[in-house]
Structure formats: C-alpha cells, structure tokens
C-alpha cells in the first residue's frame, strides 16, 4: 500500500475491512509470543485493555453481503435481525479460528443470547457477555463495570499470563486516544469538504481499524488526514445529512453509496460507533488506569440505543449533533427488526418534527442488495429539500 495515494489506501482498507478471514489479525498473532485475539461485537468495547494485555481486539460486525447464509438460518427466526445469523455462519465455517475469546457487550437481547449460543457451541477459550451497567454512579455502576473489565483481564491472563501494568495500560490508552482523535479529524474535514472523500471510503478506512493493530491504523489515519487536508474534487449540489440507527448491524456499503448517489452527503453517522464511542481523551497518566477507562465510560460515552438515557435525553444530544454538523436533514436507517434502534425512532423523530428538522426513515439489512426503493426515497428527500426554497412547515409524525 502506498501511503501517499488515497485511492490505494482506501482499496487496502476496503480489503482489510471485509476480510472475513481476519488474515491480518492472525498474522499479527503469529508474529509474537503470547499474543491473543479477542473478538468483540459491535457498539462499544474498551479495546485498550486487550491491547495492554498483549492482545488484539477484533471487531466482529457480521458477514454483511459478503457471506452467504446457509446454516445461520437454522439459528434465527425470520423476524430477528440479520447480523447474528451471519456471525453464526462465520463461526460454523471456522472464520474465527485462532480467536482466543469473545466479548459480547450488552447491546440487546439478541446479542445477549448469542453469547449463550457461542458458549454452547464452544467457540473460543472464553465467551464473556459484558454487562454494561445502566447505572452511572461511580460507586454503583462504576464498581460493577470495573469488576466486569477485571473479569475480562483475568480471562486473558489465564491464557497468556500477561500482567496489565499501570504503564502498559496508560500507553494503550494513549494510542487509542490518538486513534479517536484522528477519526474525529476526518469527520471534521468531511463536514466542511464532503466531496474530498466519499462516505463509503471513510467507512472503509474506519472499519479497517476494527481488524488492525491500533499502531498500524493510526499510521493510515495520519496519512489520510494529511491527504484530504488538501483540496481535491468538486463540490456537488447535494444536501447534507446525518444517518442514525445503524450502530449495530452494519448497512451494506452499497446502501451508503446509494445515499450519496441519490443527492446527499453523509456528514455524520453512527455506523462504527465503537470507534468513536468515547468522546474526548481518556486520562493517560493515572495510577489507576482501569479506573480511567471506567470513568470514561461513565462520563464520556456518546449516546446510543443500548444505553438508558434518563437524565441525559438522547433527543437533546441528537439535536446538538445536528446543529454541530449543520445538516439539512436526518436519515433514520435501522436494521429490520432491531428493537433498540426502532424503539428510539419515535422519540428522536418527534424532536426533529418539533424543531422543523426534515427526516426520512427506512429499514435495511446487512445483505440488502436491492437499493431501488431506497434510492427513490432518498432521491425524493433530496429533491424536496433542493427544489424548493420556501421554509417548510413542520409535518406530523
């Protein structure tokens, strides 16, 4: 890969991001003693702690449209979202060979039960459902969470005997701080100059970070930031949108492309939320870095459908994001049958309505291959913002 050529970087990232054999991760593991791979499911997992234990945390995001489902359907009824069945298919087809353990963050009931399925199937050397506390007081939820993280570290220790020292963890945290900050720079640049790089390209670049050692990803990101800081391409007559609802089961890249082809620039999204979950830096010179990771979760988490939001209403947070990114409209795109995302929509949409923010919504699944209807909807959405200049009255929900 030529780090001076954006096209090549993107191509390489695309290849990495959708390498369902996780070649790079396995290669990395084989290059050192005591290295381990821990797979984790979407939304958020503090990858720093695995890094500090000489491990690589690899994001498992389903098979997308790259994996044919043959046996996965034996495990899920038709009215359950698509991602878990492709994960099962991957497991049956031995794509996770070489993985030492699996973390299932508490996202929803489907993922929770999937952790049990992995246990029954005997995948990996440990399978841990990581129960994120819904109580955000340091002495209650914090204590519990810290203990959960410690359980993970204990499991890893059993495998490779690596002691996570204060120094190690602080170092790992600082690397991930850099990672988060670079990604956030990319989003900031794209917000102003969305034509410099497509949303699909950005997606590939961020997603590659789910399967790469953070050091390598940081290098890629640094170069990309440098390259797109220069002017390239021409602005087009498109509206600017924020896409929300896609935090867990990932939309097919074709869908991301379709949205941009049908007259929109995606300037904010929740596609790979885990990489951007912690907002801002985690403290790097504490004597108790595990405590820093814990309090970052308690205090610096972004909002998502999997976290109880009393006292910190999500609609207000969405509104702030809309203002901050200066978007023309919101696209609610959720996986079919995704209860967490879909139950949030009425709340968020009501807020959009009240504030005269235009939005559309549709459902997808990770292997959707037909974008005709979606294209028509997005196209109309963009037409309806572009072709008329008069202010829009609020419309009912």
């Amino acid at each position: 890969m030529h780090l001076n050529n954006l096209k090549e970087i993107v191509a390489r990232c695309e290849e990495l991001a959708f390498d369902l054999s996780f070649t790079r991760a396995r290669e990395w593991k084989s290059q050192g003693e005591g290295r381990i791979i821990v797979g984790h499911l979407p939304i958020y997992f503090p990858r720093e702690i695995i890094h500090a234990a000489n491990g690589l945390a690899v994001g498992i995001l389903g098979g997308g449209d790259k994996k044919l489902i043959i046996r996965g359907d034996a495990y899920y009824q038709s009215y359950i979202c698509h991602m878990p069945r492709s994960i099962i298919e991957l497991a049956i087809d031995k794509h996770f060979e070489g993985f030492d353990g699996f973390i299932f963050p508490s996202i929803c009931d489907v993922i929770r039960n999937l952790s049990g399925m992995f246990q029954i199937m005997g995948e990996g050397k440990f399978v841990k459902y990581l129960d994120f506390p819904q109580n955000f007081k340091p002495d209650i939820g914090g204590t519990f969470y810290r203990h959960e993280l410690q359980t993970v570290l204990d499991e890893v220790y059993k495998l490779n005997g690596v002691e996570v020292t204060t120094e190690r963890l602080n170092h790992s945290i600082s690397l991930f701080n850099i990672n988060r900050s670079l990604i956030s720079q990319l989003y900031n640049i794209r917000q102003e100059f969305p034509w410099r790089m497509t949303a699909a390209d950005l997606y590939h670049i961020v997603r590659a970070g789910y399967v790469l050692p953070v050091e390598e990803h940081n290098e890629i990101l640094t170069n990309v930031v440098r390259l797109i800081s220069q002017e390239s391409g021409d602005p087009m007559d498109k509206i600017r949108v924020l896409v929300i609802g896609a935090f867990c089961e990932q939309p097919p890249v074709g869908l991301i492309r379709t949205i941009e082809l049908a007259g929109c620039y995606i300037v904010e999204d929740d596609f790979l939320l885990g990489a951007r979950w912690i907002q801002g830096d985690i403290e790097t010179n504490s004597n108790d870095p595990l405590e820093s990771v814990t309090s970052a979760y308690l205090e610096k988490s972004t909002f998502s459908s999997s976290v109880f939001d009393v006292g910190n209403p999500k609609e207000v947070r969405l509104l702030n994001l809309i203002r901050y990114r200066k978007v023309d409209g919101v696209i609610f795109a959720a996986p079919s049958f995704c209860d967490p995302a879909l139950l949030d929509h009425p709340i968020l949409q009501k807020e959009c309505n009240d504030k005269n923010i235009r939005f559309i919504s549709f459902l997808y699944s990770e292997n959707t291959g037909q974008f005709k209807v979606i294209k028509e909807q997005v196209g109309t959405f963009s037409d309806s913002i572009k072709l008329w200049d008069e202010p829009v009255p609020a419309f009912s929900l």
């Binding site: 209807v373 028509e376 109309t380 829009v392 009912s396 929900l397």
Partner: protein, 272 residues
C-alpha cells in the same frame, strides 16, 4: 413572463409507458398524451416509439422540445435531458390534475406511494409499499387474467358486487388459490373482484393512515383508472373514520409524466 416552450414528460412504468406533451409557460397546458403497454418489449424502445409518435402527431421535431424529462424507470432513456424521482413527479402531477390536493397516492403496477405535500406540491412525507406485491396493480392484473376479465372491465365488474369475499391471507399468490376456491364455491366474479379490490384498498388506506394523510387526497397512477379501486378506497376510508376526501381525474395515469413535463419546464427556466 416566461416564454412559451414545449416540454415532454415520459413516465416509464413497469407495465405502461406514459408520455405527455406540454406547452409550458406560466400557465402550462397539456397538448397531447400517449399511453402504451410495454408487454414484454424493451421499455426503452417502446418509450422511443411513443415519443416519436407523439412528436409526429403534433408536427414537432425532437429539437422543438425544450426539455424532455423522464421519471419512473426512465433513467435509461437516451434522449432525456433530466430525470426526476417518481414521488417528486407524481406529487407535482397529482396537484396539477387535482388542484388543492394535500396528499397524492400513486397506485401503480408494483408499488403504491402515498405522498404528503404542501400547497406548492412540495413533498413533505411519504410512505411506500415494499417488496411484497400484495397491494399492487400487478395483483389485480393476475387475478383478472385468471378470471378472464380485461383489465379495462375490472372496475365496472367490481361495482356490480353485492357480497364481496376477501381472500384470507395477504400473499397475492396464495390469494390466487383462494380465488380459485371461490370460483368453485360459486362466488360471483364481481364479488371476487371486489374482494381483491378491498384487500388492496386496505393496504392503501393503511398507508394513508400511517402517513396521517391530509385531505383532499388525489389518487393517481394506473389503478386510478379503475373505478372499482377508487370506490373500494372510499368505502374503507369511510369505514375507518378517516376524514379524507378522495379526488381523482380521468388523466390520473399520466400524473407522473405530467409532473416530469412540469419539472422539466421549471428546470429549463432555471438553467437558462
């Protein structure tokens, strides 16, 4: 005052090609129209024929047309100048035919699109049927074919129903079996057809209610040529106490093409 120009709108549907020739100025007027069944032919070629025929009939050359706009599946047309998305065109066309309408429902061969608009025809919100044919015009075509009815006669036949029978499931294929069953039980053709209309109308009314449609509602698209369908929608609207006035127009099937022709003119002025 903008000068008068000719615009042509072509709506490439999945079963019908609709074309409108318009004299566009501040008060646009429809000059001529043309409709043609695709019937397993290449829609692009059929559309070309339709365009040529329309021009010929009106002693016009292609170069006389200021803006040829396509909609529907018309992105493939070679001679188009611009393409607009179906909902944008149906909304515009629906309001042109039914001034004052605040909701337009396009009832086509594959999809039903319910579009909520403001006084200016701007799309505010919409709902659309998805990947299942249970509410589509194609469904009626299939059933009427089985019953040996011409599509043109379906509406009138349905109006003769006295005790409509609705099929049990939602799937149009399974409904076919139901229909066959009804035939054998001696249910009359009008009652069967009416039942099918009601089951489709049910889907449409559901769309309207989930969209929270505002009255008046203009029905457009091919199924709006079917008086039985319009009747069925009206009946179900009354039944579900939705306070919606239903309007339609004899040229409803052309709504998409009209909308395209109108938007074409609009863009032409804007670009020149």
């Amino acid at each position: 005052m903008n000068q008068q120009i000719y615009t042509l709108g072509v709506d490439v549907g999945s079963s019908l090609i609709k074309a409108i020739l318009m004299s566009y100025s501040d008060t646009p007027v429809i000059i001529d129209k043309e409709i043609e069944k695709i019937r397993k032919r290449n829609p692009g070629l059929v559309a070309d024929q339709v365009i040529d025929h329309l021009l010929e009939k009106n002693n016009l050359k292609y170069s006389d047309i200021a803006y040829l706009a396509s909609t529907g599946e018309g992105e493939m047309l070679q001679r188009k100048r611009g393409h607009f998305y179906s909902m944008t065109t149906h909304a515009k066309g629906g309001v042109f035919l039914n001034p004052g309408a605040l909701t337009v429902v396009d009832m086509g061969a594959l999809y039903v699109r319910a579009i909520k608009i403001n006084e200016l025809g701007r799309v505010l919100d919409y709902k659309m049927t998805g990947q299942c044919a249970s509410g589509s015009g194609q469904f009626i075509e299939n059933i009427s074919r089985y019953l040996g009815l011409a599509i043109e006669d379906v509406g009138a036949t349905s109006m003769k129903a006295t005790a409509p029978e609705t099929p049990s499931g939602i799937c149009s294929v399974l409904a076919e079996t139901d229909v066959i069953n009804m035939v054998s039980r001696g249910i009359s053709t009008p009652d069967i057809i009416k039942g099918i209309h009601l089951s489709i109308a049910n889907k449409i009314v559901k769309l309207l209610s989930s969209l929270k449609a505002t009255s008046p509602v203009a029905l457009t698209g091919g199924m709006a040529m079917n008086i039985g369908m319009i009747q069925a929608v009206r009946e179900l609207i009354d039944e579900s106490n939705l306070d919606l006035e239903i309007r339609t127009h004899p040229d409803s099937v052309y709504a998409g093409a009209i909308g395209a022709a109108l938007w074409g003119g609009f863009r032409y002025y804007k670009l020149n």
